[in-house]
Symmetry: D2
Subunit: 303 residues, 4 copies
């Protein structure tokens, strides 16, 4: 089954052999300008979860950990003439630990990464291809919010609920939105606020998320990027047999689709409900980490 | 002299006792919406310098160092069922080492930080007030580029050249720009590309930059933030006697002005020259680091 | 009460105003030579707990965390001519997270650190006095093992059990040991193996440990250093009212006593039981970290 | 030529298929006890170079960097009842950056590591075999100092000087020392103090060191470990054609010989000259880093 899916959505070579940005190719200047024209109220909504060692979303993670913050110098210790003090700080920042974009080097499948390169192009010196720096200047366009809890009148989608293509169609249609090539899709499940309120209990276990059936939909609509408020974006338990993170495996490796996770969509949900508009300018710049596998991002939705 | 200057530009209490965002108060929804309306070509220009241990701008720094990148897991070592591999990475990220915003906790003067708080509010646990997280959702608006090398037909401003208020007036007027309250001002000296081409030799020594005389100008025009392509923003040698980083001391501590450094303005310079327009939508989200003194930023100029 | 205790055991000024090594002054060349003479079987017992991110003793700690290990370069990525590969690694090492010595800068009491210096001598640039580097070449001598579980025929001392001076006297006398000036005392409670077997559950909660009553004993016998197999060395709940870590406060700050924690004394217990001898040469070198507050240590007992 | 050498000194399988400690097998209880019997004056000499970010030996290194020290908590910020303050610190510690032992996983040659294992046993999760933890309890025995500057009356051996087997024979014979199986050999070139006095200028360029001709000597004498005061132990330029770090490639990979670098042998040189004895008890415990490629070490020579 997954091989049929891959055959339908594979983008290897679609934008040339040297392509390292995948579906971000869908974003055109026309699309960016049109997205900017959506800004009317002048409201900024930031989607980045705080980078916080004690209270961040990795608190209950089995393997990853929250960023660790060090004060390198206090003003009293770094004195310049005239009673001036300067503080500096340093962070040990796991690049997949907070609101973040996955680079196209993040996942391999059957030994290959996006563009049919060997997974061994990801080395202890960093991603030699498909790294986050390749897309660092590319992530802005029309953002859409598919807000399921708001639509359905629930606190959050249930653990294990696999969002379907029909769900996306219905949800967006209800807001009068027709997806366009180059759109950046945000999917709110409500699971983040639900778990955060419980000190992140359960955030990394079974969770709602995108099902495999949405991959054709994302491909057909030429979505440039998709992000959720969950830790893994895709539904858990996974909805394919015998394969881990199947959505990632197909979407990152074969489509070259930019995936985002742990986006805080709560305030955006409220702002969209307030003005009844679920489209906006989304500006979500990754940090240009040389060889980076991912990047934290504090995306701004401008309405 | 510096006390007279402080008396003129001090903003302590201007936006209430609890204010922690300083001149970002100038940015209004109206200003944001107007800025978005400047986007016509749909061009994205990213201003973030790569985070690169070997080749980053701290290569020649006396004290700071470039970010250090670790591959935490290679795809071959983190295997899921079905031949899926997952890579992760971690970065030791000095928060003042690359393109960055200084929080209002970055500098103290005579024992005080912005808002007349004690500098001891910056502790080994991070900034207890005025930290970067306070402004993480605030940095977007109309960007202006004052491109001095382009105006003057030089490669870069000379080391030690103190940009004046008259320089700013002349430069912007020549582009037909009238500064407005809430503008985000980018100042290109050309010094970054000059030093980068020499493997960053001299980048942290004497440098061109904003002179103290521009502080009244920034205050009077209600500029929300200012950033340059240099390591220190202000001119070196400093243009005040007996005080280190005098521009920072007045602007951060007394005005609450957001300062940015090491912004890569080269491509933006070319794009502005190409279309003749030196104003644009600038979206420059800091990371919401709890207690953070600063944050890397990959600002986008949208034209 | 604690003030009376301090009055009895205070060593400030005892070894001169500039002293930064405290009770390590008790260790003389004669004592070192005598300790070496104890080695007869040629057995080496290492007391260092593995530095292990996933399984280390901080697994259940409220605040500290285990060391984090990064492979900086794999042999396949760092190639020299002739098919030679070189691997390197890096560790984020909390200096109090594993088997470790506390420097005399680790704790302050009423604003002072050992030698009557201000606690502000410990700065964001490190300990300006009493740091671990000061004692880096000083920690070898006769080691004694007070093995309570072995003596009492129990698995471990109970949580909250405060070891007394009488306990030490009885335990050592039973092994025929008379403490001497400059001895390094190891105290086995069995609590480490007990908690490790339960995945470190409870290791940082209530625990057995040295009670305040042992301080006079340690002072009178001129013990140079004391270490246990617990996380805090002293008993929890603390056996003084209204004061946190009272043993540390008196012993480190007023006596200048070197304290060690999280020493793995299991194999040593077996070896001592095997040969019936509870004294040995102990060599326990801290790392000479400039300004360091503590250091990991892999002490060797040589029998 | 190098293949002939390898054929002569290869130890793969010598101590069983599962062996991970190589030449440390030479150290017997009898040897340890005999070494302890050498201690007469009770003098401790510590050989660890300070771990110091600004002034450490990697200051001039092309790739590695000195440890970075962070104060995690100051006493004023971590307050317990009764005016007790607790400081903690953290270090980013490159495990090959200071006085250190190389594990047997540090170098691969023609795809193999010690014991004929694949170099892919060294993964992004650490050394799966031959890691430093395997030897953490093994490094003590008779130490010998071959002090060439002292013997030859020079400040330091010249850059590029390859120490020979004859040099070792002559130097040790002059001190009346006959090497024995299990000895730990320290070789002082004087190059460390020479470069440190020049702010480490040249420390990582051409340097004196062990030549390939000493490998047979080390093998025949069954030396358990060898360490020098230089950055690379072996002479640079290398004394084999077309192969990088040839000494490491043969000694680590084929002999399983423990190599140490950046040992500070200055005080030891003075102490040995003072008492005329160049043998001593050497106790040099690595940290038991799970999967570690190397470890810092602050070795103690006890005389």
């Amino acid at each position: 089954m997954i091989d049929d899916l891959i055959a339908r959505v594979n983008n290897w070579g679609r934008w040339g052999d040297g392509d390292q940005i995948g579906t971000l190719n869908y974003i055109t200047p026309v699309a960016v300008a049109a997205a900017a024209a959506l800004v009317s109220r002048g409201v900024i909504v930031a989607l980045g979860e705080p980078l916080d060692h004690k209270n961040g979303p990795q608190k209950t993670a089995p393997r990853r950990y929250n960023p660790i913050h060090f004060i390198d110098e206090l003003p009293v210790d770094n004195r310049l003439p005239g009673e001036v003090g300067v503080a500096d700080d340093v962070m040990l920042l796991p690049l997949q630990a907070t609101s973040q974009w996955d680079s196209l080097a993040h996942v391999s499948f059957r030994g290959r990464i996006y563009g049919d390169h060997s997974e061994t192009m990801v080395t202890s010196h960093g991603a030699q291809i498909n790294g986050i720096r390749e897309i660092a200047g590319k992530v802005a366009g029309r953002g859409l919010l598919a807000d399921f809890p708001q639509e359905l009148g629930v606190d959050h989608l249930d653990e294990g609920y696999a969002i379907t293509a029909d769900d996306l169609d219905r949800n967006l249609a209800a807001r009068g939105i027709t997806p366009r090539s180059g759109d950046l899709l945000l999917v709110r499940t409500g699971f983040m606020q639900h778990c955060r309120a419980r000190d992140w209990e359960g955030y990394h276990g079974d969770m709602p998320g995108l099902g495999l059936s949405t991959i054709d939909w994302l491909h057909d609509h030429e979505i440039a990027a998709v992000a959720t408020d969950t830790a893994s974006l895709e539904v858990k338990p996974f909805d394919a047999e015998g394969i881990g993170v199947p959505f990632h495996a197909v979407a990152i490796v074969h489509m070259g689709l930019l995936l985002g996770e742990i986006f805080d969509l709560e305030e955006l949900s409220r702002e969209c409900a307030a003005d009844g508009t679920y489209e906006f300018l989304l500006v979500a710049p990754p940090l240009p980490v040389t060889g980076g596998i991912g990047s934290p991002v504090n995306a701004y939705a401008l309405k």
